[in-house]
Symmetry: C2
Subunit: 458 residues, 2 copies
């Protein structure tokens, strides 16, 4: 057995937990969100009816590079953070690569993913503001689980509008959320006006994320002691997720590791943005020349095949317009098993980074993703979430390139979560029935046609 200077787990102490989140917009602002009625940049007032005050302030903040993490949030973070950065010694051995592979593991908590990083501050700010209830939507269920944990912790009521098809297919996700005391309402429901309208038109629909958003927003605006929160796409969510990148950076520095490549998957952009933002300053300044790669499914390729334009964040067209890479709010992604990567758009910070050429994007096919997942599980002992497995696929590809060239590159990726609630997907991979899907040009054009017809160059 070879001499190891680097331990398997590059641990940080509680005292090394970051005290501030990193706000990349202070050095790289992006085009503002627009009020769809006026086409004017959104202000605090535009968000006020829906979101908590502190989150609106964070959403619009382009001034402070570091934003303090409240003590009460840090107290919770200490239960599950600093999360481990792990050297993938066994995966390296299986690949027989000279590359060094490291992964930041965000799945060691009951929500099973990084979503908890933002759920905790969001619930905390709501509590601090004197609110009593929150509403949100959930598709795959990771965000709903994370927010139910956070709401239980801070003593807030929570209603989760869960896409009906998902609630029916994933009764155990629903059970976890209910165990934490939240109310799960399969969407569309007759608890809201928009839900009733949709049910009347399509009585047999299994729902959609767009519809669940609309219901959650409507419910939140009914009473003054309730607000709506969400788990991705928004800039304040990325802000909270920078805890991932900050810890990774601290750990790499502590153990004297200079990364060459940073990789993570992109859906709405929250884990990716949070993972890479703290590394971007040096990249933008030109002091470091990391390669930074976002990985998306070939079935929903917003960065690699989308347009950089203003579009709605939801299919119901009720959100502000955001300048982002999008396949069009009407794009219907296939039933890719990675529910967390099935989104038509991309967070504006991540979109800006890509547009400016600071990051790369790669799209990968589902069956190849699961092949990589199983390889990882057998060597590293962790069953990864389908979303995270996209990242693993590209990390393995990069490590195998090093095998050819003999380069000892240092590859660092974010393992966002575990796949314990995604076993239907693994079963279809195991029994050979999993399908790949790549949208045709026609599919894309159909999606693009839903992009609103507004002046795109401001």
């Amino acid at each position: 057995m070879e001499e190891k200077v680097i331990p398997t787990k590059l641990l940080l102490d509680e005292s090394e937990l970051p005290k501030c989140w990193y706000n990349l917009k202070a050095i790289l602002p992006h085009e503002p969100a627009l009020n769809p009625a006026t086409l004017k940049p959104c202000t605090v007032e535009d968000f006020k009816g829906v979101f908590c005050d502190e989150l609106i302030e964070q959403e619009l903040n382009e001034k402070d590079e570091y934003i303090e993490i409240p003590d009460e949030v840090i107290e919770f973070y200490k239960k599950v953070r600093p999360s481990p950065l792990i050297r993938a010694y066994d995966l390296e051995k299986v690949l027989d690569t000279p590359a060094e592979i490291y992964y930041k593991f965000e799945g060691n908590n009951t929500s099973g993913s990084h979503k908890l990083n933002s759920a905790i501050p969001q619930a905390y700010y709501a509590k601090k503001q004197g609110l009593k209830y929150l509403t949100t939507e959930t598709g795959a269920g990771q965000w709903g689980t994370a927010l139910s944990m956070a709401s239980a912790y801070y003593g807030l009521g929570l209603t989760v509008y869960m896409v009906k098809g998902s609630a029916e297919q994933k009764p155990f996700r629903k059970a976890v959320i209910e165990t934490y005391g939240a109310k799960v309402v399969p969407s569309p429901s007759n608890t809201t006006k928009v839900g009733r309208e949709i049910l009347e038109k399509f009585p047999n629909t299994t729902g959609s994320l767009g519809c669940a958003v609309s219901e959650a927003v409507e419910k939140a605006t009914e009473t003054s002691d309730c607000k709506y929160v969400l788990g991705s796409v928004m800039d304040h969510v990325i802000l909270h997720q920078t805890i991932i990148g900050l810890e990774t950076k601290t750990a790499l520095e502590k153990f004297g590791i200079e990364p060459d490549i940073l990789i993570s998957c992109v859906g709405g952009g929250s884990n990716f943005g949070g993972f890479v933002a703290p590394f971007m300053k040096d990249k933008i300044n030109g002091t470091k020349n990391y390669r930074i790669i976002g990985v998306e499914p070939k079935s929903c390729p917003s960065l690699t095949r989308g347009k950089y334009v203003y579009d709605y964040g939801d299919t119901g067209k009720i959100t502000p317009l955001m300048k982002m890479y999008t396949l069009g709010n009407g794009f219907m992604p296939s039933s890719n098993h990675a529910g967390g990567l099935r989104y038509h758009g991309m967070n504006p910070i991540v979109s800006k980074l890509y547009h400016e050429g600071y990051i790369e994007a790669v799209s990968v096919e589902q069956t190849k993703v699961f092949e990589a997942a199983v390889k990882f599980a057998k060597s590293e002992g962790i069953l990864p979430a389908p979303e995270s497995s996209h990242t693993i696929k590209v990390a393995i590809d990069e490590a195998l390139k090093c095998k050819e060239t003999g380069e000892k590159k240092k590859i660092v990726f974010c393992l966002t979560g575990t796949g314990y609630f995604d076993l239907t997907a693994y079963m279809s991979y195991n029994n050979g029935t999993m399908q790949d899907y790549v949208p045709t040009e026609e599919d894309l054009q159909k999606g693009f046609s839903s992009i609103p017809d507004i002046p795109q160059n401001k």
Copy 2:
């Protein structure tokens, strides 16, 4: 917020990982297992056809107080160990108790429990001996999952005989095991003589653990490159599990904490034995006066209502006879949701400790257990396994006693696993349909009547 001297997570470095397991039998031997045919103490020869050589040696070792952990096992342990010892600050706050509560968390790995601690060395020794295949049985599925991970890691083939009812009710457990490359055979099956016989007699049976054991043993003895392994009850399993107690002891000493009460649940005895064994020397010597409590379900009360006699370890009466607390090998436990605690007997080391008065035992009702589990989940953010929740119930009870007396006792418990695959149980608790079951005197007498009629006093 109060000043905290103790961090939330009492972490150990990789360098503080124990180098040896602790063999309690070197200072407290127990009555030997007997060959049921001869009623003579079992020798290496009695075990040889079924078990790996190194495990037999460990099973019979009453000489060495410390047994070295192989480097290759330590390499794997480093991925998931040292496991965190966590101060339950939030649970203390919710209970408003002056007690300090700590839990050793063994659930942060894909098997979801402490079972991996023994699966890894068992697979390693098999590999080292040149074996190609292993067989085992699994009921609830935690052990099967852990062993599938270990077998994949060391490149061994594995067949898991999974109780048919469990395989049908828990398709996701089966899916995880298969993802790691193991073969799952619902038991009884037509792959063994004993399976075919049972199927002929009871074509509609949903199987039993006893039958699955018999099939796995039969299969293992068919070829010379295959052995049978199991995940509880045996002394060598407890030996491997002492990594839990050793780490706990090291962490407590590192942070200057003197425990007053140690608590864990008892089924076959493996987590409990492993957790408490390293603390027993001081207790036996009289240098420390910890209270040590084993918690069992009221529905399967082997310590609190069983007899301390020689009995078979399985319902099929094929194992050696062991001197243990037992409800009788024919005792039929109710469908308690904590599958890991549904065993008629108790490991001989744990039985000896109880018989000698070194440990206490408490039995608790299922609904109270889940009430404690939900309280824990909401405050500490971890969804506990039903088995582990038995421990939590008693830890909370002890902390509440401290609230009455004002004592600042230090309570340390082992949180053996997570409940992600036990959500059917949580659902029945959440919707109020969960039932408690306590065996009647008649039920017990029926079980006792299955205890073999042999001279019980040697």
